[in-house]
C-alpha cells in the first residue's frame, strides 16, 4: 500500500509528557524554569510522520507554558523580573525547534516515499520482464497492481498494429463480456485520455458504472483511474483501474513515474511478436525461393537436354541417309543368307524326325520300368505283411495279459503296438491293392449278382457304425432297376465300402445315403453324405495315390488315403467310372457308374466335377493342435508354492514331466505350442520352465529367445530338452541347461533339482583380479551394488585360493599379474582336472593384444575389454550381463556339460582337422565342438595361412573351409590345394553363408568335396565328417 507507516503511540506519549510538565509547572513557583522541559514533547514529534505535527505541539506547549506562568504561585517576596522574559525566549526557541523537526520529518517522508516508489517500480519491471506476449504482460501488470496497490478492477487496452484501435489485452476482476473489446482513439473518455496522454481520475461515479461483484453481493467502486501508456510520445495502450477510494497522491505519482516504462515493455513485446511473424514469413519465403530455384534448375536441365536432343536428331538425320544406302546392300546379303537358312532348316527337320522316334522308344521304356516298380511294390508289400502279422498276433496276446504278469502301463503299450500294427497293415494292404491294379495283376471275376443283396450286405455292415456315430443311414434301391447285373461282386463292394466308410468318417451329423439307380444304360451307385465336403482343388487330387488333399485330414480321421485311388483303379477294371460332386461344408456325393454287363462298357456322362465347383473355401489351418487328455494344475496353481511351466507337445512325455514336477513339489502347467508357452509364461510367471525344442508352431529356440528378451520372463530359469543337439546355442542364449533325448529319469530329476537350486540363489559374487591398487578400487567402485558382493585380490595365487573355496558368478581379471600371466591363470582354471570353480571371465587389460593373443584368449573368455575412454561403460555392461545370466548358466553345470559332450564320436578321435575361418566366434565354437569329440584342430585365418599349414603339417586329415576371408578367399584356396600333388585328394568341406544353390556348384567346382551352409548345425557337420574322413590310417610296419 502506498502509505507511510504510523506510530499510534506517539501522540499519547507526547500528550502525557506535556501534561506532566504542565503539572510540574503549576506546582512550582514562578521563576523556576521547569517549562524548559517542553522541549521534550516538541522534540519527540519527530517520531510522527506528519510535518505539521511539530507545529501543533509547539502551539500546544506555548499555550500550556503561558497558562502555567499565569497560574504558577508567586514566590514570596521575590519576583524575578526576567521570569516572563525567559519564558518568552523559551517559547520562541520552542518554535524554532518545532520548525527544525518539521523540516526533518518532511525530508524523511520524501525519502521514504521515494524508496517505496522505487521498490514498486522495480517490482513492476520484474513482472514484465522476459519473453512475454502482450497478453501476458497485460495480465502480469494487472495482477501486480491488484496485489500491490489494491486496485479492485482493471483492464488493459493495447494498440493494434497500424490502426487507431485499442484492443483488450487483459482484465482482472471483471467479466470480460461486460467491457468494451476495443476502443478508438479520441472516442469517449477513454479515447480522450489516449489522445491527451494524461492520467485522469474520476470519483463520485454514476450508478451505471461497473459494480464490484463477489459472491456475497455487489458494491460500486469509489473511483476510476485511467492511465495512458505512452512511449516516446506515442500511446501504445490504456490502463483503466477502479478503486474503493480515490487513489492517493503517491499512487498517482507512481503511475506518472511508471507509465512510460510500462508502455515501453508493451511496445517491445509488440515488436517481439511482430518479429516472430516476420521470421516465419522469412522462412516461408526462403522455402518458396528454394522451390523456385529447384524449378529453375529443373528447367535448365530440361532445356539442356532438349538442345542436346535437337543436336542429336540432326545428327541422326544425316546418319540415317548413310544408313539407307547401307541397308540396300544388307538386303541383298540377307536374301542370300535366307537361302542358306532354308537348307539348314531341311536338315533340322530330318533330325527332328529322328528325335521323335527316339522319344517314342524312351516312352516305352518308361512304361516298362513303371510296371517293374509296381510289381516290386506288390511283392514287397506281401513280404511285409508276413512278419507284421506275427507281430500283431503277439501284441494281441500280450495285451490280453492272460498270465496277469504285466502292469497296467505295459498292457497299454501292448495295445498301442497292436493298434499301430493294424494301421500299418491296412496301409500295406492298400499299397498292395493299388500296386496290383497298377501292375495289372488284379483279375476280375464277373458273376451275376443281385443288387438287393449287395445293398443289403453293405447296410448290415454300416448300420452299427451309423448308430454309433448317431447318423441316419438310408439305403434306396430304384424300383426301375433290374434285380441283377453282371460284375465282380467283391470289387464292387470294396468300392462302395470305401465310399461309405469315407462318408461316415467325414460326417459328424446328418445323413448318409446309399442309392442305386439306372443311368445311361448302366447302373449308378451314389453315396451321399452331409459331411465336410471337398473343395475343387481337393477334388482334383483325392483320387491320386499318395496325394491326399490335406495332410491333416488324414491324421485326424485315420486311414491311409489310398482308398479312393484304389476305388478309381477298381472302377476302371470293372469298365466303370467314378466321379464326385461336392461343396465344401455341404457334403459330398461319390458316384460309381457301372455297365449292367461287365463285358459291355456303358456310355458314361462326363463328370461335371469342375462345372459344379463352388467358390473356394479357405483352407483350414494345418497346424491343428490337439489338447492333452490330462488336466494340468492351472486351475489350482496358486495352491503350490512353486510353479513350473512344461512346454512339450508329445503327450506321453509331457505327462512324464508333469508327474516328475509333482514329485519334486512343483505345481505344473503344460503348454503344447510355443505361442501358448509364451502366453502362459507371462501370465503365470512360473518359477522355472522346461522347454522342448521341437514344437508344432515354432522352434523352442525361438521361444527361448523370446522368453529371454521379455523383461517379464527373462529371469526365469529355462531347461531345454530335445532330440537334436542345440546345446551350445541354447546355453549361449541363456538356457540354464540342456538335455538330449532320450532322457533318463535321473537326468530329468537332476535338471529339476538344479532349477530349484537356482531359484534359491540370490546374492551375486564377483571376483576382481588386478594388481594395481587404484585400478582395483576403481573397478570395485564401478560394479559394487547392494546385490553384488565384490572380492578383490592382487595376485593369481590369491585368486586361485578364492576360486578353490567357493564359486563366483563372474571374474574380472587383468592380464599382467605379478606372479602368473593371465593366460596361465586361465589355462589352469580350465584344465580338465581343475579343482577350481570356473566362472565366466571378463579380461580387462590395457595391453594392445595381437591377433594371436586375442585368439588364444577367446577360448577362455568372450569378453575382452581394452582400457580406454569408454571402457568403464563397457565393463559395467558386460558385468551386468553376466550377473544377469548367472541365474541361467551355472558354472559347474557347464563343465559337466562339456564332459558329457566328450567321447560321443569315436570316429573323430585323434583326427586332425584344419579349420579355415576368419571369424573368431566361429572358430571358437567349432574348435570346442570338434575337440570335445576328441578331434585335434588347427586353425588358419585365411586361404594363404591354410595353404601354409597344409604344406607344413602332413597330419591334417580334413579341411573345413570358409569362403569369405581376407587376403585369399576359400574358392581360391581350394583351387590351389587341388593343384598340390600331395593334397589333391585332401577332403575339403566348404562352409558358406550363401543360400544360393549354385553356390554349392561353385564350391564343388573350386574343389570342395562337400558343402555346409551357415549357420552350422553340429549334427550335420558331424555326419559330413563321418562321410568324408578317410578310414583311420593303420600303422604299417
Amino acid at each position: 500500500m502506498l502509505k507511510l507507516e504510523k506510530k499510534p503511540w506517539v501522540i499519547p506519549l507526547i500528550v502525557i509528557i506535556s501534561a506532566l510538565i504542565f503539572a510540574l509547572d503549576l506546582n512550582t513557583k514562578k521563576g523556576s524554569s521547569e517549562y524548559i522541559f517542553y522541549f521534550i514533547p516538541v522534540a519527540l514529534t519527530f517520531l510522527h510522520s506528519s510535518s505539521f505535527f511539530p507545529f501543533l505541539i509547539s502551539t500546544l506547549t506555548t499555550l500550556l507554558s503561558i497558562t502555567g506562568y499565569l497560574l504558577s504561585p508567586v514566590a514570596t517576596g521575590f519576583v524575578n523580573p526576567f521570569a516572563f522574559q525567559n519564558r518568552l525566549y523559551t517559547i520562541f526557541t520552542l518554535w524554532i525547534v518545532a520548525s527544525l523537526v518539521s523540516k526533518i520529518i518532511s525530508s524523511r517522508n520524501e525519502n521514504l516515499k521515494d524508496a517505496r516508489l522505487k521498490t514498486l517500480a522495480s517490482q513492476l519491471q520484474d513482472s514484465v520482464r522476459g519473453e512475454l506476449s502482450t497478453q501476458e504482460i497485460g495480465k502480469n501488470i494487472l495482477s501486480f497492481l491488484s496485489k500491490e496497490i489494491h486496485s479492485l478492477l482493471g483492464v488493459i487496452y493495447i494498440k493494434e498494429d497500424q490502426s487507431s484501435r485499442f484492443q483488450v489485452a487483459a482484465s482482472s476482476g471483471v467479466d470480460r463480456n461486460l467491457i468494451k473489446d476495443t476502443i478508438l482513439s479520441g472516442e469517449g473518455i477513454n479515447g480522450q485520455v489516449i489522445i491527451d496522454q494524461k492520467i485522469v481520475n474520476l470519483s463520485e461515479l454514476p450508478d451505471e458504472h461497473l459494480k464490484l461483484k463477489t459472491s456475497l453481493g455487489e458494491s460500486s467502486p469509489g473511483a476510476i483511474m485511467m492511465v495512458p501508456l505512452v512511449a516516446d510520445g506515442i500511446s501504445v495502450g490504456l490502463l483503466e483501474l477502479a478503486f474503493r477510494e480515490p487513489p492517493n497522491l503517491m499512487i498517482q505519482e507512481f503511475f506518472k513515474l511508471n507509465m512510460e516504462n510500462l508502455a515501453i515493455a508493451i511496445r517491445s513485446a509488440m515488436h517481439k511478436s511482430k518479429l516472430v511473424v516476420l521470421l516465419q514469413q522469412a522462412q516461408q519465403y526462403s522455402q518458396e525461393l528454394q522451390a523456385q530455384q529447384e524449378e529453375l534448375r529443373v528447367s535448365n536441365e530440361e532445356l539442356e537436354q532438349q538442345s542436346n536432343a535437337l543436336k542429336e536428331s540432326h545428327a541422326r538425320l544425316e546418319n540415317q541417309q548413310a544408313e539407307l544406302e547401307q541397308s540396300n546392300q544388307q538386303l541383298e546379303e540377307q536374301s542370300q543368307f535366307l537361302e542358306h537358312q532354308k537348307s539348314v532348316l531341311d536338315e533340322k527337320n530330318r533330325s527332328l524326325e529322328r528325335a521323335q522316334i527316339a522319344i517314342e522308344e524312351k516312352g516305352k521304356e518308361i512304361e516298362k520300368s513303371s510296371q517293374y516298380k509296381s510289381e516290386f511294390l506288390a511283392n514287397m508289400s506281401h513280404e511285409l505283411r508276413t512278419p507284421l502279422n506275427s507281430t500283431l498276433i503277439l501284441a494281441k496276446l500280450l495285451s490280453e495279459n492272460k498270465p496277469g504278469n504285466l502292469n497296467e502301463e505295459q498292457v497299454k503299450y501292448a495295445h498301442i503296438i497292436y493298434n499301430s500294427g493294424n494301421d500299418l497293415l491296412s496301409l500295406i494292404n492298400d499299397i498292395l491293392d493299388l500296386s496290383k491294379v497298377e501292375a495289372g495283376k488284379m483279375t476280375v471275376h464277373p458273376e451275376i449278382i443281385s443288387l438287393h443283396q449287395v445293398n443289403h450286405s453293405l447296410e448290415q455292415m454300416f448300420v452299427p457304425v451309423a448308430a454309433n456315430k448317431k447318423i441316419e443311414f438310408k439305403v434306396i434301391l430304384d424300383p426301375k432297376l433290374p434285380s441283377t447285373m453282371t460284375t465282380d461282386r467283391q470289387r464292387l463292394e470294396q468300392i462302395l465300402r470305401n465310399f461309405l466308410s469315407n462318408a461316415f468318417k467325414f460326417t459328424t451329423h446328418g445323413t448318409v445315403t446309399l442309392s442305386a439307380y439306372p443311368e445311361n444304360g448302366g447302373v449308378s451307385f451314389a453315396v451321399k453324405d452331409t459331411g465336410l465336403g471337398i473343395t475343387p482343388e481337393q477334388q482334383k487330387v483325392i483320387f491320386e495315390a499318395f496325394r491326399q488333399a490335406d495332410g491333416t485330414t488324414n491324421r485326424r480321421f485315420g486311414g491311409t488315403g489310398l482308398g479312393l485311388s484304389i476305388s478309381k483303379e477298381l472302377s476302371h477294371l470293372l469298365n466303370g467310372e467314378i466321379h464326385v460332386e461336392s461343396r465344401k461344408d455341404e457334403g459330398s456325393t461319390f458316384i460309381l457308374n457301372l455297365p449292367f454287363d461287365f463285358t459291355k462298357k456303358a456310355s458314361l456322362p462326363k463328370a461335371e466335377v469342375l462345372l459344379t465347383s463352388p467358390p473356394v473355401q479357405p483352407k483350414q489351418d494345418i497346424k491343428e493342435v490337439i489338447a492333452f487328455s490330462f488336466e494340468d494344475d492351472r486351475k489350482k496353481i496358486n495352491s503350490f508354492p512353486r510353479k513350473m511351466l512344461i512346454v512339450e507337445d508329445e503327450e506321453a512325455f509331457a505327462k512324464i514331466l508333469f508327474d516328475l514336477a509333482h514329485e519334486l513339489k512343483f505345481g505344473a502347467i503344460v503348454a503344447n505350442t510355443g505361442e501358448e508357452a509364451l502366453k502362459m509364461a507371462s501370465e503365470y510367471s512360473p518359477h522355472a520352465i522346461v522347454l522342448d525344442v521341437r514344437l508344432p508352431d515354432h522352434s523352442g529356440m525361438i521361444v527361448l529367445d523370446q522368453l529371454k528378451s521379455n523383461p517379464k520372463t527373462r529371469h526365469i530359469p529355462v531347461h531345454m530338452i530335445s532330440s537334436e543337439d542345440f546345446s551350445r546355442s541354447a546355453l549361449e542364449m541363456g538356457a540354464m541347461g540342456y538335455l538330449q533325448k532320450p532322457v533318463k529319469k535321473e537326468q530329468l530329476k537332476g535338471a529339476f533339482e538344479q532349477l530349484s537350486s537356482v531359484m534359491e540363489q540370490k546374492l551375486k559374487r564377483v571376483l576382481v583380479v588386478e594388481d594395481d591398487e587404484i585400478q582395483r578400487n576403481h573397478i570395485v567402485g564401478l560394479i559394487s551394488d547392494s546385490n553384488v558382493e565384490v572380492e578383490a585380490v592382487e595376485t593369481s595365487k590369491a585368486a586361485l585360493e578364492k576360486l578353490a573355496k567357493r564359486t563366483y558368478d563372474c571374474m574380472i581379471m587383468d592380464l599382467s599379474l605379478p606372479d602368473m600371466t593371465g593366460h596361465e591363470l586361465l589355462a589352469k582354471l580350465s584344465s580338465e582336472n581343475s579343482v577350481y570353480s570356473y566362472p565366466p571371465v571378463i579380461v580387462y587389460t590395457a595391453r594392445d593384444l595381437t591377433v594371436e593373443e586375442e585368439e588364444r584368449l577367446r577360448v577362455y573368455s568372450g569378453s575382452i575389454i581394452i582400457k580406454g575412454a569408454k571402457s568403464p561403460e563397457r565393463l559395467l555392461s558386460e558385468v551386468t550381463l553376466f550377473l544377469h545370466k548367472v541365474e541361467t548358466e551355472l558354472p559347474p553345470d557347464r563343465q559337466k556339460m562339456l564332459k558329457d559332450l566328450r567321447n560321443r564320436e569315436k570316429n573323430l578321435e585323434e583326427r586332425k582337422i584344419l579349420l579355415v575361418d576368419d571369424d573368431v566366434r566361429n572358430i571358437f565354437a567349432l574348435v570346442s565342438a570338434l575337440e570335445s569329440y576328441g578331434a585335434k584342430t588347427e586353425t588358419a585365418r585365411n586361404g594363404r595361412e591354410a595353404l601354409e599349414k597344409i604344406q607344413k603339417d602332413p597330419e591334417i586329415d580334413l579341411v573345413l573351409m570358409d569362403i569369405m576371408m581376407p587376403e585369399m578367399d576359400g574358392y581360391e584356396a581350394m583351387r590351389r590345394i587341388r593343384q598340390m600333388p600331395l593334397h589333391k585328394n585332401m577332403p575339403i568341406i566348404a562352409l558358406t553363408a550363401k543360400a544360393m544353390s549354385d553356390d554349392r556348384e561353385k564350391c564343388l567346382e573350386a574343389g570342395a568335396n562337400d558343402y555346409l551352409p551357415k549357420p552350422i548345425v553340429i549334427e550335420k557337420l558331424l555326419s559330413l565328417l563321418r562321410v568324408w574322413l578317410p578310414p583311420k590310417r593303420r600303422f604299417i610296419s
Partner: protein, 192 residues
C-alpha cells in the same frame, strides 16, 4: 489409426503459398492421410513441417521409410528421396535417379499411389513451372481416383496444372478457395 483413404498433393514453384491454403483445410476427425511432394533442393532443409505445424489440424511430419500411413497425418517427402505409397499403406522412400529431373518427383508419388490404392486416392496438382505430376495424375484418373487440378489461371505458375489438363479432364478444376472448400468436406464423402 491406419488411414483408409489418401490425398496426394504435388506442388512446385509457388507451392508454399498454395500449400498454405491446401494443408490447413483438412479437418479432424478423418480417415484420410495426406502425402505431399514439394520440389526442394537436395541439400537444403525441409522447413515445411515446422512452418505448417501450428496452422494444421492434421499432424504434419517428414515421411520415414517403412512408416505405416496414419489417418489425420500429413507426410512430406524428404528432399532428395522419392516417396511412394505401397499396397499395405506403408510409405517407402527411394534414392532412384531423378524423374522429370526431380527427386522427390510428383509422378513417382502419384503413380505409386494410383497403382497401390486405386480409387482410394485423391490427387491434387498445384502450381508449378514444369511437367512433373501430369502423367501421375492421369494414372490416378484412370484407376478411378478423384483428381483435382488447380485452375491454371489462379496458379502462380500455370505450367504444371496446364500440362495435366492437356492429358486428362480431371474431376474438378478449382481455384485455391474452391479447393479449400472441397478438401475441408472431403472426409464426409462416401467411401468408394
Amino acid at each position: 489409426m491406419k488411414a483408409n483413404r489418401f490425398v496426394v498433393v504435388g506442388a512446385s514453384a509457388g507451392g508454399v503459398d498454395a500449400l498454405k491454403y491446401v494443408l490447413p483445410s483438412f479437418k479432424t476427425p478423418s480417415d484420410y492421410a495426406v502425402m505431399v511432394v514439394l520440389h526442394l533442393p537436395a541439400k537444403g532443409p525441409n522447413l515445411i513441417p515446422s512452418l505448417f505445424e501450428s496452422i494444421c489440424d492434421f499432424k504434419i511430419k517428414e515421411a520415414e521409410s517403412g512408416e505405416l500411413c496414419e489417418a489425420q497425418t500429413i507426410y512430406i517427402a524428404p528432399p532428395d528421396y522419392h516417396l511412394s505409397l505401397e499396397r499395405d499403406a506403408t510409405l517407402s522412400l527411394s534414392n532412384e535417379p531423378a524423374l522429370n529431373f526431380s527427386r522427390p518427383s510428383i509422378d513417382v508419388l502419384f503413380e505409386s499411389a494410383a497403382f497401390s490404392q486405386q480409387d482410394k486416392i485423391t490427387g491434387v496438382l498445384l502450381t508449378g513451372a514444369n511437367q512433373d505430376g501430369a502423367k501421375g495424375i492421369a494414372l490416378i484418373h484412370k484407376e478411378g481416383g478423384t483428381t483435382l487440378v488447380q485452375d491454371p489461371k489462379s496458379a502462380e505458375y500455370p505450367a504444371m496444372p496446364q500440362a495435366a489438363l492437356e492429358i486428362i479432364k480431371p474431376t474438378h478444376i478449382l481455384n485455391l478457395d474452391q479447393l479449400k472448400n472441397f478438401l475441408s468436406e472431403i472426409h464426409k464423402r462416401p467411401l468408394p
